[in-house]
């Protein structure tokens, strides 16, 4: 298994609202040691968003050239997502022009992923408080929204991995659809397509107080991508490095071995670095890599243990 991180680890910085140029981000992440990268297309509200404006295809192609030069591969990407998981509850989505912009960003993210060889694009299942969070209605509405994109992804050669969601920690909603893996499996299985799978976020699962080994065994071969991060149950969605929170990492690694997961060990720990800048930020990025090597070692040991 290869170690990976999201570009979100270094796109943001604490001394400005501007995003770093993605080519620079790749260069820095490669210099730290990363060869596998999760392309974050989640900053659609920023003025300097990669997929905004008319030159987005040129920007994407240039990024591809930079990646090729650096020897970087993109196993996965993160599609734009609805903050809070509900369009109904989002003020932005009440404006039809924003909804159209968002949908276009999702479309572009799939196309960009296809051009860059992304194998899996991660999508957040949507929640529908207007339907009382009913499972059947939520599944139907998610299909109504995502089917066109899943199809587009297939045309682009990119699968769609639906992510287990975080419960609504601020209690703005009583529950989020697919915060429990049973709903997530039902959604994914409804496609009955090998190009639709699951992204497992270890931090979101921890906020659900899940026994992650049991959950991952239920997910099984549907698992296509990972969001590795840590947190403390009941606190914010901290996205800390492994062992800075309360996730039971040996259990997660053993379960990954058991289910034969073949993707990357992808860290989603951008909040560790997003307030920093300068050399301090770089130091934190380096720490994520060293932490990742430890977790990889843990995985390899679990692999050997299972093999012996």
């Amino acid at each position: 298994m290869k170690l990976s991180t999201t570009t979100g680890l270094y796109q943001q910085r604490g001394d400005t609202d501007h995003l770093r140029d993605m080519n620079e981000v790749l260069q820095v992440l490669r210099s730290v040691g990363y060869e596998e990268i999760d392309l974050s297309f989640c900053f659609q509200d920023k003025p300097d968003y990669l997929l905004r404006g008319e030159d987005w295809e040129r920007n994407v192609d240039q990024l591809g050239e930079t990646a090729a030069k650096l020897g970087i591969s993109f196993y996965q990407s993160h599609l734009p997502f609805v903050k809070g998981a509900s369009m109904k509850k989002s003020a932005l989505f009440q404006r039809p022009e924003y909804r159209a912009y968002f949908d276009e960003c999702v479309r572009r993210a799939y196309v960009a992923g296809g051009r860059l060889g992304v194998r899996w694009a991660v999508a957040h299942p949507l929640s529908f408080p207007e339907y009382n969070f009913e499972t059947e209605a939520s599944l139907k509405e998610n299909r109504a929204y995502y089917d066109q994109f899943v199809e587009l992804g297939i045309q682009c050669g990119t699968g769609t991995a639906f992510e287990n969601m975080l419960p609504s920690l601020d209690r703005e909603m009583a529950a989020r659809y697919c915060q429990h893996y049973e709903q997530l499996i039902e959604l994914v299985d409804s496609y009955a397509d090998p190009m639709v799978g699951i992204c497992w976020d270890t931090g979101h699962a921890n906020q659900m107080q899940l026994v992650q080994g049991r959950a991952l065994r239920a997910v099984g071969s549907r698992l296509k991508t990972l969001h590795i991060n840590d947190n403390h149950y009941g606190n914010r969605d901290e996205h800390l490095l492994p062992y800075m929170g309360t996730v039971v990492w040996p259990e997660v690694m053993e379960a990954l071995v058991e289910i034969g997961y073949s993707g990357t060990l992808n860290y989603e720990t951008g909040k560790v670095t997003s307030e920093a800048y300068g050399e301090i930020q770089l130091g934190l990025v380096e720490l994520t890599y060293r932490n990742g090597l430890y977790l990889l070692d843990l995985y390899e040991k679990a692999l050997q243990k299972r093999g012996s």
Binding site: N235, E275, I280, Q281, G283, L284, Y294
Partner: protein, 315 residues
């Protein structure tokens, strides 16, 4: 100013039970680069607590010898404190004999600090749940509890630094902790009218209290004796993260620190970044903490030299 770190960051780990021997802790910190530490004397409930039982003085002497051999200065100590800064909220608080045991630990901690040449030990102002609405009564009751220890500290040549507290977030069981407002803290410290009583400033607690840290530090001025440098996000748990992992305004804090006559060390209290990690990973976190500290020191020095806003780009 020297960089320092609380020994507590290495005393517990995710792959070993019990407390790590403090001599070993000093050795590891030394190997990473630290030559100045804050001696954590807080884990009174642990069976391995360094001040528990007979022979504690010998153990402290051994720590002193280790520190001397390694060239480590013990620049401040953290004295025992009840959990949640309140005997009313400490799960052990009502157990028979606990108060006597705790008080003896505190007494020993002062004595140990004196043996090791520590200038100031940090204590937490106490909150009494039946008096939370009266700063005057809380001050009186803190004096009633701490006076004998402050006096004992003076005899041991150890000053007492009262720490700014964080609010009871995210639980909010009561409106405010005593000492979360720096004006209450100053009132308590000034009531002693003694240079051996001062302030320990915890940057994370202040962030939770939504305190303008520059303004607070300027008000504290020369009373500042110890620091607990850490970061967090307002309203969440007391995260004790590395600087720039949370929302503390570090340039503002460092500018103010550079303005006041602080003689102490830049002491990191960031145990939550490593306490659950296996030991091998703890070392990686500590290396990053050390580099982070050197960069923060550099920002501080630039602020002292008046080189503009001490932002990280120049660091």
């Amino acid at each position: 100013m020297k960089l320092s770190i609380l020994t507590g960051i290495l005393e517990v780990s995710g792959d070993h039970s019990g407390l790590r021997d403090l001599n070993e802790v000093l050795q590891v910190l030394h190997e990473i680069g630290y030559d100045t530490v804050d001696l954590g004397l807080t884990p009174v409930a642990s069976p391995d607590y360094v001040l528990r039982g007979d022979g504690w003085e010998k153990r402290i002497e051994a720590i002193g010898n280790t520190a001397a051999k390694l060239g480590i200065t013990i620049a401040q100590s953290h004295l025992p404190t009840p959990k949640n800064a309140s005997f009313d909220l400490d799960p052990n608080g009502k157990k028979p004999g606990y108060q006597e045991y705790f008080d003896e630990c505190l007494r020993r901690a002062y004595a140990a600090s004196g043996m090791l040449g520590v200038p100031f030990g940090t204590v937490h102002p106490l909150t009494y749940l039946d008096a939370v609405s009266s700063s005057k009564e809380l001050l009186e009751r803190n004096r009633r509890y701490y006076d004998k220890f402050v006096e004992w500290g003076i005899r041991c040549r150890v000053g007492t630094a009262f720490e700014n507290m964080r609010p009871d977030s995210p639980n909010w069981r009561f409106p405010a902790r005593y000492g979360q407002n720096y004006r209450d803290l100053l009132e308590l410290v000034d009531s002693f009218d003694d240079p051996m009583v001062g302030v320990c400033w915890d940057t994370g607690h202040a962030n939770h209290a939504q305190c303008k840290q520059g303004e607070a530090l300027r008000a504290i001025g020369g009373r500042l004796k110890n620091l607990h440098i850490n970061d967090n996000h307002y309203g969440c748990r007391d995260e004790h993260l590395l600087p720039f992992m949370g929302t503390v305004d570090w340039p503002q804090f460092l500018s103010a620190l550079a303005e006041i006559p602080y003689q102490g060390v830049l002491n990191y209290e960031v145990g939550n970044t490593a306490r659950r990690a296996p030991r091998v990973l703890q070392v990686e976190v500590l290396k990053t903490a050390y580099q982070n500290g050197l960069l923060l020191l550099d920002m501080y020095e630039k602020a002292r030299a008046g080189i503009g806003r001490p932002d990280g780009e120049g660091a």
